[in-house]
Amino acid sequence: MISKEKVAIITGATGGIGFEVAKRLGQDGYTVILNGIEDDAGAERVKELSAQGIKAEYYGFDVTSEEAVTSNITKIGEKYGKIDVLVNNAGGLGGRSRFEEMTTDFYRFVMALNLDSVFFASRAAIPFLKKGEHPSIINYTSNAGWTAGGPGAGVYGTSKAGVHAITRALAKDLAEYGIRANAVSPGTIDTPFHAQIKATKPEVFASWANNIMLGRLGQPEDVAGVISFLASKDASFITAETIQIGGGQALGI
């Protein structure tokens, strides 16, 4: 049976941008499925959303594990009979390493976290997205996909360039089913991603706003607002597109 609810899956949703996206889609009327690897945090987040009247569930699995992603996404799809939106939010820098010292394990981990995860989750979701309403996949690329990232972030940049291309490839491949695929490219967003520099060099962190046209760092809500739009019927002719959310940062000042 196909659920009458709108169903959104957000990977990596126990903190930072992912949780804000889950909250926003919940406010938009979706039943939100949060994924993460910290089960306690996941339970807390579901409680927090439930208290706001949002229907939320948590599924703990590692997005780099093909088996875990496939079985969990399939379980979710079968439970609701469809998936309307898949937000491939999980990802990360994984650490900084220069190529000369880089281990193959590190390389594979960063690629798996940012790129394999998109492939695994999207592939598993396709049969259920086909039954969704104005269904879409939303991925995260990064300015690092163009610039190849800061010091030691070369693999991160490489993986995000891959996300840029797989987004377009998914858009082409799935268009015949009416499934759209788009990406967002957040600039500097004030999240735990930057916690270390915020704590150790607060003046450097604050100065980043000087390189942003709007004169401030982005907030997780800024990203959630874009994803809410891309998931909606109002974006029904937008596919294969990447939207920059950087307050103009990508253009330089």
Binding site: A175, Q219, D234, I238, A240, Q244, L251
Partner: protein
């Protein structure tokens, strides 16, 4: 739906096709709308009537937005009607006029195309920017043609839209510190009178078939994107040229 409640919006060329859809959509989201037009008085009247039937305010003002004296008149009339605070400016007016190759066009045609598409965007922005502040949004209509050079005989049109895309980025930098966001959108093949007039049916069918979503877009879909960019949900988006083409650009 009231994402734009109480805001004042100007839509140049707002009487027909995409401009009309934008005017109505912004009104549906709660904005008061200035429907600028030049050729289509009946279209402007119809658009204003439709907005009023939704219980929203709108006025139609006829001026040529490629003429600086006319822009000054437009400004005076808007200030008299809605006050001196503008929240949303949609530089939509524009046109192809005719398909002419390098061998065919002359200086007068060059001036016409550049003036209506680019000069209008520049000087309407210059006129209204002083009335805009933090949270305001300027949205320019560029085109897929700015990305790919356009279809046959549209070199001047596509170049004028390329100028619009670049002007958009420059204004995002210049006006960002005031909290004004400036973005453009690049529509692909949208089913409108524009293509009824200038594009052969077989070309349209071929392009639609080659578009990943296998169809033309419609004016309402472009209007939805404009309303989104004007809203606070887009509060960190500036300097962007957003494609709306059903995936066409990469097919």
């Amino acid at each position: 739906m009231s994402k734009l409640k109480g805001k004042v919006a100007i839509v140049t060329g707002g009487s027909r096709d995409i401009g009309r859809a934008i005017s109505i959509k912004l009104a549906k989201e709660g904005a008061k709308v200035v429907v600028n037009y030049f050729n289509s008085e009946s279209g402007a009247k119809k658009t204003v009537e439709e907005i009023k039937s939704l219980g929203q305010e709108a006025i139609a003002i006829k001026v040529d937005v490629s003429n600086l004296g006319d822009i000054a008149n437009l400004k005076a009339k808007i200030v008299a009607a809605f006050g001196d605070k503008i929240d949303i400016l949609v530089n939509n007016a524009g046109g192809l006029f005719a398909r002419k190759t390098l061998e065919e066009f002359d200086e007068a045609f060059y001036n016409l195309v550049m003036d209506v598409n680019f000069k209008s965007t520049v000087f309407v922005t210059q006129a209204f920017e002083p009335l805009m502040g933090k949270g305001a949004s300027i949205i320019n209509l560029s085109s897929q043609a700015a990305r790919d050079g356009g279809g046959g005989g549209s070199a001047l049109y596509s170049s004028s839209k390329g100028a619009v895309s670049t002007f958009t980025r420059a204004m995002a930098k210049e006006l960002g510190p005031k909290g004004i966001r400036v973005n453009a959108l690049c529509p692909g093949l949208i089913g409108t009178k524009f293509h009824d007039d200038f594009t052969k049916d077989e070309v349209r069918e071929k392009v639609a078939a080659g578009t990943p979503l296998r169809r033309e877009g419609n004016a309402n879909e472009v209007a939805d994107l404009v309303a989104y960019l004007a809203s606070d949900d887009a509060s960190f988006i500036t300097g962007n040229n957003i494609d709306i083409n059903g995936g066409l650009a990469f097919s």
